[in-house]
Symmetry: C2
Subunit: 364 residues, 2 copies
């Protein structure tokens, strides 16, 4: 066994560190929406689906919970507390004393995530032992059969890398003139989908080894209605709009066109049907529950003030790496100004909503 | 169960962060000396004393190793690799295939330790799953019976706090005119010893709960020959010399005398016999091995160039907190200049060497 080096992975872009005004810690209300919208479903799934006895919790009494792609908080702390409350409720329902349980929570993100801020913000009177686990969730992170619950929220859409073909000028999937796969070039969409499939396969294989039999994986992910291109949804429109701003900046001479052509977002939103097929094909998990839900903020999110800090907290690291520190402020200023002026245009032509998916898997 | 908040502990002073010229990462040769001097003893203890079969490793095949007070590396990575090599050797000696073993290494230090640097510096092709665990080792850090090996090197001399009496002007243990317990005032020495005893009791109780029966704890700590005051040793002389520099700066008007009076190092070096008694009194561990060794660098360490960066990397955080950022450079500059001029005086009157102790405990 040798653990692969995920430290130098060229494609890990942490959320904005610290807790300053542009930090992820201060600009993750959208991601928080996922956590809050699924609070009841998460709790109910754990109460109903987690068979503590069959996992041997009667004798060992320690539960290991991992939150993958946790960033720096506070959302991860809310999600974790919700899961622990549900486990206790489950245990109590079996006439067991929940105060005899111990929890170890493993907070995972890339090794360049700001773990110092995460640790500083840990809830003071937490009911668990906390650990930070650095590395990519596309590979192994934990020992065999060591986890009882895995939670991954607003994180699985990150690819391990931009598919090679879309930056290759000799490929039919070369994504010149665009920065994403929102449905304009079929080959581009296919290359992105292939990358996502391969990443998900690695992800599911790794988790299958780490979860104990009967262990649960709770996934929150944004998906697309089958056959609907991303460009017809509010999120897709925003990616396209940000792309058009980058090309404007290239025309204005601030960025080279070549640099914009070689830029692509390493994220992907799968079709809901395809996502389900991927899990069934992997074969290590049963699907215990699959619910669609509406993001509680999606309808309020019609303003530039909403989108700009959110995109910046999520993508600043990506932009820094690709375009360099000296232009990042200008990029976001231009994007912000254009979005304020064109918010109705930016939202024009949206025919579908993306589907927020809550899915509960059980390790066979 | 509620995990105590160790985040806001007033008395945790991390080693200097990052990997700049004054960082712990670049100035921990002294601490590295401990690791190197004990490499063979650590390996032999694990090979001889760790009964993998009785701990159930045959079935679970995952070993949990914790390094407490790990700081940011690189010493911790060297120590960890050495332990893993020894476990593999042990396993192989029982005709088992060591490549089937998995290791999870839990790197612990205070939550204001620079875990970001620790994670960045993790060896690329490591043979273990890594996790960072923030918090004070004077309390619980891990679930019950979850660890197989605990390693704590050059860290147990840190107290959880300066004993209250030594900063209380109404106490007979008030340490006015000194910054440490090097043997000039009996009541001060007693107050420090009582704090150390209480801290060690908490430490041993916590580890007793976390280690599996048969699990090993390997301790490397500097101790004193029974009955010899610290001021008669090279390390004690250095603390006293640094104290005299602080009082000089008070006379020069840079620091207030009151501020220096209220300053005390929160570290303690126990008498070797007392340390052994403490462990026996706790009763949760058997002493499997107890060896004294000479620090490989202690005789070379006769120069200011050696001591100043070492003390700064270890104590800058402490000085920052007590005296404020604006004077820390001046304190270390003055100390450095005085030590260069007076190195022979600083080393005068040393009659004994401290005893570097390597001790192996087994959980009953």
């Amino acid at each position: 066994m040798a653990i692969e080096d995920t430290n130098t992975s060229p494609e890990s872009y942490p959320m904005v560190a610290g807790d300053g005004p542009q930090s992820y810690a201060k600009n993750s209300t959208f991601q928080k929406g996922f956590v809050e919208a699924t609070k009841g479903m998460v709790a109910a799934s754990i109460v109903e689906k987690l068979d503590l006895r069959s996992m041997g919790i009667d004798t060992s009494r320690t539960l290991q919970i991992a939150d993958l792609g946790c960033s720096v908080g506070p959302n991860t702390f809310i999600a974790v507390q919700n899961m622990i409350d549900a486990v206790e409720q489950n245990y109590q329902a079996e006439n067991q004393n929940p105060s005899t349980l111990e929890f170890q929570v493993l907070f995972n993100d890339h090794s360049n995530n700001d773990f110092n801020t995460l640790f500083k913000n840990l809830p003071p009177n937490r009911r668990y032992y906390a650990a930070g686990v650095p590395g990519s969730f596309h590979g192994r992170l934990f020992p065999k059969s060591s986890l009882h619950i895995v939670h991954v929220s607003s994180a699985l859409h990150w690819l391990s890398k931009v598919p090679i073909e879309v930056t290759d000028s000799n490929s039919s999937a070369w994504n010149k003139g665009n920065v994403y796969c929102t449905g304009f070039v079929e080959e581009v969409d296919k290359a992105y989908a292939a990358q996502f499939n391969s990443d998900m396969e690695s992800f599911l294989d790794a988790r299958a080894q780490e979860l104990v039999p009967g262990g649960l994986m709770l996934i929150l992910i944004a998906t697309l209605p089958d056959g609907i291109p991303l460009s017809k949804t509010i999120v897709g429109k925003h990616y396209d709009f940000l792309g058009s701003c980058l090309y404007e900046l290239a025309k204005m001479g601030l960025l080279s066109e070549e640099k914009v052509d070689s830029f692509n977002f390493p994220v992907f939103f799968p079709f809901v049907g395809e996502f389900e097929k991927l899990i069934r094909r992997n074969g290590n998990f049963s699907i215990e529950r699959m619910d669609m839900f509406t993001h509680p903020l999606i309808h309020k999110a019609q303003s530039a003030e909403y989108w700009v800090p959110l995109f910046r907290a999520s993508f600043e690291g990506l932009f820094l790496k690709h375009f360099g520190e000296q232009v990042v402020d200008q990029i976001f200023n231009h994007y912000s100004k254009k979005l304020e002026q064109n918010i109705s245009f930016a939202l024009n032509g949206i025919t579908h909503e993306e589907i927020e998916l809550f899915i509960v898997l059980k390790r066979n």
